[in-house]
Every structure is written in structure tokens, then in C-alpha cells.
Amino acid sequence: MTQQLEDLVDVVRGPVGPEQVRAAARLMSLLEDDPDQVHRLRRIAADTRPALVVGVTGPPGAGKSTLTDALVTCARKRDKARRIGVIAVDPSSPFSGGAVLGDRVRMMRHATDESIFIRSLATRGHLGGVSRGARGVIAVMRLLGCEIILVETVGVGQSEIEVAQLADIVVIVLAPGQGDGVQLLKAGLMEIGDLFIVNKADRDGAGLLNRQLTSALQMGLGKRATPGHFPSGAPAVLMASATEQQGIDEIMGYLEQRAEAGVS
């Protein structure tokens, strides 16, 4: 097992090409199946470059996958040389243990882009919104030289906030029609967001949701230590429509600005 891990790491550190991709994918599987091996990986590959890990989370149906896809496209355009990793998590069936991993389907236009590595993970019974395998996959993506790693969680409720531990920046994606101002008072998701996106901005209720969110954040209901705010002091709420490609540049701009400011 150790030898296999080391052999795979050697190939991943090697030249860019099909062999590297295959080895990286296999390494991810190895670490997903045995998450404790991540420590071994970190020991032998301590020299990996830092990456910006962006968590993308929110309730089911808010548009996380579509938004992640749009962000990848945008990041690509802004810097053609940069390698990008995407982790997309979907729930495992509590009855059969199987899963349909249906996030990648929204990002298929990137499937043959050699600079974009997409990996789908099932939660495998793990609660918290991500999966035990995610840390390992992030480590391999760093090894591959990914500068940005987007981690898209399952559709979450109010308590699945594990992504906050994995990510440097947490983006909360909300859509109109999923609750009112009182809903936003509740704990959990509101407390981990660095940036709040009102997605599906073209729909009724988007403006209202924006106002409610902004008001909740101004009241101090956001993250305690570093509340999500723009440099101007305004709460970090942005309108977007992933399907209409609106607001994506602004989101990317904010992420790059936070990266430069040295988020770790």
C-alpha cells in the first residue's frame, strides 16, 4: 500500500500527460477508500504548492453545480495557464450505499480541458456535507498543481457546515423562494459564509432575498471572526444568474482578491 502510494505520487509529480491523470485519479481513489493515508501523502509530498480552496455550498437546487461550472469557465478565461480542480459531492443512499453522482453532468464542457480536473465523490454515509475522502482529493489536486480547488458540497440544510473546515473561502449559494428573513436568522449556514450569492437573480423574489441577506449580515448575524464584507464595508452579497452568465465575473474577482490578500 505504501509503495503503491509512493509510486503513484512519483507519476503525479512527473510530466503532464495521460499517465499523470490516471495516476492522480488512482491516488484519489486510494485516499478516498483509506482517508488515514492522507498523512502519509503529506509527509512525502510536503513541497506541494498552496492552492485556494473555495467551498461552494447551499440548499439543494440553489444552483451550486451550474454556478461552479460558470466559475470554472470564468477562471479559465481569466488565466489560461492555471490548473483548476473541482470536487463535487453527492449523497450516498442510506439504503443501498450506492449513489448517483450527478454534478459532473453540468460541467461536461470542461471534460476534455487538460487543465481542469473534476472528481465526483459520494458521501458514503458521512454527514457534514462533504465526504471523508475530500481531504485526500484536495491533497492530490495540490500535488497536480491546481491553483484553485472548488469543493461543491451536497445540497445542505442548516447544520452541514463541514466545508468551512476544508475551505479557505466559503461561498453560500441561495435561490429565491427558499424561505424568508426568519429563516436567515437561524444558525449554521449563515455563520460560515464569506460570500453569499443570490442565484437565479432573474426570478421573482431575488431582490427581496438580497435585501434580507444584506440586512441579516449588517445585524451581525454572519461569521463571527471575519464577517463576509467587501472592502467598502458592505456585506458580501452578490446577485448572479449562473445560467445567464450574470454576476460570475464579480464573484471571480472577489475570490481572486481574497486570494491575493492571503487567505489561508
Partner: protein, 168 residues
């Protein structure tokens, strides 16, 4: 039929009492301990009839597989690239357009070129018997035509993925 097969595999009655993280149902002995079999399902070419593909994705999920569903109108390049990144054990291609000979051959060729020909390829759709023989010679491990029972599909795939039959 699906719930019946789940019950026979013991997933039904004691599912609620079994701890979530050890829900290995002993379905497929994966080549990696602690691993789960992963299958990519996609539709290459231009046909958009995805009901069959979604059905197979669903029954495989119910049998404990992790299914990466890649949708319709994909190129062989997109399918193979995805399969490699996802480190799947098998690829299932659904084709009702008549272009199966060409597209299966392309997928198998791409897998070979990228050093991934240990990934099992199976297919589904309206594929005539004569063509199925040719496809098997190409390296397609199984072909499921419309009407194949769910049980048959699941058991055949489980057989194909038994570690002894996988090349190391």
C-alpha cells in the same frame, strides 16, 4: 422488481439498523479494500433518449454502485476523459441512434491510447444481434438490449467486476 432484489440482498430489512459507514453489502468485492465500485454512464453521439440510461443508473445505485451520470450528447473523448478522472471500474454506454459500431470502437480505442483499457466497457440500447457479436470482439464486455431485467443487468456487471477477472 428493484425493491425485491434489494430485500434479497439484505439491504431492506436491516438497513435501518446497520451503521451507515459500514454499509458494505458484500455486493462486489472491490479490488481495493474499503472501495466502492464506480461506473460511468453516458450517451455518446446525438441521440437524446436517456430514459434507459437513467434507469440503469438508478438500478446500479440501488445495487450499491457509485454511478457517475454524464448525460446525453457526449463525445467519446469527453466520456473517456471523465472515466479516467473518476477512476471508474466500468463505462456503460447507452446508444439508440444506430451509431454503436463507430462510437464503441472510438471509446475503446481512446481507453487503450490513454493506458486505461482495464476499464470494462458495456453497452445498452437498440443493438442488433449481429452487431453485438462484432462489439464483443472489439472488447465490449456485455450488451443489454431493451427489456433486459434489472436483476440480469446488475448481476452481469457484478460478475464483470469481480477482482479475479480484472487485470491488475
Amino acid at each position: 422488481m428493484i425493491s425485491q432484489s434489494n430485500h434479497e440482498q439484505g439491504a431492506g430489512a436491516d438497513a435501518a439498523t446497520r451503521p451507515r459507514e459500514s454499509r458494505a453489502l458484500g455486493l462486489v468485492q472491490h479490488k481495493r479494500p474499503g472501495g466502492r465500485p464506480r461506473i460511468l454512464i453516458g450517451k455518446p453521439g446525438l441521440d437524446g433518449h436517456d430514459r434507459g440510461a437513467k434507469y440503469v443508473a438508478h438500478i446500479l445505485r440501488d445495487a450499491g454502485f457509485e454511478v457517475i451520470y454524464t448525460g446525453i450528447r457526449r463525445t467519446p473523448e469527453q466520456i473517456v476523459s471523465s472515466a479516467i478522472q473518476e477512476d471508474v471500474d466500468a463505462i456503460g454506454l447507452s446508444l439508440l441512434s444506430g451509431a454503436h459500431n463507430l462510437l464503441f470502437a472510438k471509446v475503446i480505442e481512446l481507453l487503450r491510447q490513454q493506458g486505461a483499457d482495464d476499464i470494462v466497457v458495456f453497452g445498452g440500447g437498440t443493438i442488433p444481434d449481429a452487431d453485438q457479436i462484432a462489439l464483443k470482439q472489439l472488447g465490449v464486455a456485455a450488451v443489454f438490449t431493451p427489456g433486459t431485467p434489472a436483476q440480469t443487468i446488475v448481476e452481469t456487471i457484478q460478475q464483470l467486476l469481480i477482482p479475479a477477472k480484472c487485470s491488475a
